[in-house]
Subunit: 299 residues, 2 copies
């Protein structure tokens, strides 16, 4: 498919793309730009033919496919090097979790002759770093590709994601940022906030509660262990949608509280029954493992 | 250990106690009182020697160990039969998720000569019914037993839970209801509320979002699929503690929102980093599976 792939930032997602691309022989050569020494040691274990760059310079002028997989807050620092060294034949993509901000950034800072078509693979984990990457991370997962006027390169990008196992869907960045404020950003924020609330409770009440987290809290602690740089970037970039998601959430929670205070059996039960249906929809769409308790078994 | 065990209400927890007790030969005879025809069909498959009662009458006068495993809102209807037919030699326990209410109820309605010592096994699932029960549900899980002046029977109850695999801890009902309002009741309420918020968003925006639930929402949908009768009972019974947990949660969420609106990098990042530590504590205490993403793998 490509001659020279360059992955900029090789953490969980970057290294998974690298592994999957090597596995599917997506390119002849594989370049990685990564600054963390620890990450570099892990990446070297993946495959001997990976070429690790410690600078973005004229060595990247023959790259035909660039994948930005650093935290989003780093994109701005990378763009000048892309402008300077990439040829217009190349295709650039990114894997950032919010898109209106990236679109603005590339419109503002990217040289007009370069093509950057955005992607968002819906996959990830609470762990980070190349150590946890996997060549099968994208298999059967959604990858969103964003509309672009260069249809030839868009097609190429779609084929790339399909080749490493993704199901591809095309979306507009405004719609994307709205949808993911609800399906991803709000859940993460709520998980962080629940853990914070549990920590506060522990301080006030001086009771050891973590021991009894199996009754629900532990589920949230997984998501609340996600990378803080990545999530700060997301919350800040999608501020407008995240804030309105929080407002809707608080409004609903206050109404829930009222139902409990008033022992309003009918309304409360209706809400609980309704929520139940969503799990079944998620399982029907194969968006989660169809086993009770996520198939978790510690015994 | 016992001659005749009676399990009243044989859903997920009741049937798991039944299975574990048969497996560990806890009793000579096993009685079950259950009303649902569907449940009875499942229970009959477990073991031929299970005796299914369709009434609580003088057939239960020789029961030496009764376990109440119906939804808590049913306890009040069962107590008159215990009063009428049980002998004072018997030991009664329950597996209800809140305890101040049960203590009040038994003080008010149970015959003084009978001994009811409360238990709370910290195990469960989003699925319900005997079909999903398991003899190993309690292995290495906490079971809380509540202080009682009858130390002989208390010891007997503790031994029972240990024998079917639980780690036992003794607690006071007030402390229990506070702790679990944070580790279990609030997380469930928040999960229900998040799913409700997603449903509302879907209605307002007319966008199909469930498809993209893998980015976080799906985790919450599991807990929000829990049994509505059980959870209504819990929210209502532990109203006071749940309401103050909600208040603390909303206060924290508003402060989180402010951090995002002000792009307050320092404060926000400090919060995210702090939350991360809790996951590690939970894993160190073996309260969750120590694999990324709960070891979930759909490929």
């Amino acid at each position: 498919m490509f001659k020279n792939i360059l992955i900029i930032g090789c953490g969980l997602i970057g290294s998974s793309i690298l592994r999957a691309s090597i596995n599917k022989k997506i390119s002849k050569n594989f370049f990685v730009f990564e600054k963390s020494e620890k990450n570099i040691r892990e990446i070297k274990k993946i495959n001997k033919k990976i070429i690790i760059l410690n600078k973005l310079n004229n060595k990247i002028s023959n790259i035909d496919f660039v994948i930005l997989a650093t935290p989003m807050s780093q994109y701005e620092r990378v763009i000048p090097y892309l402008n300077k060294y990439l040829s217009k034949k190349s295709l650039i993509t990114d894997v950032g979790s919010t898109k209106e901000n990236i679109k603005k950034l590339k419109n503002k800072s990217l040289t007009k002759s370069l093509d950057w078509i955005m992607s968002h693979p819906i996959s990830g984990s609470e762990v980070s770093g190349p150590k946890y990457g996997s060549k099968s991370l994208f298999i059967n997962k959604w990858c969103i590709v964003f509309s672009d006027k260069n249809k030839v390169k868009q097609k190429k990008l779609i084929n790339f994601w399909k080749k490493i196992g993704s199901k591809v869907i095309i979306m507009d960045e405004k719609v994307h940022d709205k949808i993911f404020s609800i399906t991803s950003h709000l859940p993460h924020l709520i998980a962080y906030n629940l853990i914070k609330t549990a920590q506060d409770f522990q301080k006030i009440q001086k009771k050891d509660i973590i021991k009894f987290s199996a009754g629900g809290l532990r589920d949230f602690s997984r998501i609340a262990a996600s990378n803080e740089i990545m999530w700060r970037d997301i919350f800040f970039s999608n501020k407008k949608n995240v804030v309105s998601a929080i407002n809707l959430f608080i409004k609903n929670l206050k109404s829930f509280k009222k139902n409990i205070e008033n022992l309003d059996d009918n309304t409360l039960r209706k809400k609980l029954v309704n929520s139940k249906k969503v799990r079944q929809q998620i399982l029907n769409l194969k968006q989660d493992i169809a086993k009770p308790d996520f198939g978790r078994d510690q015994n």
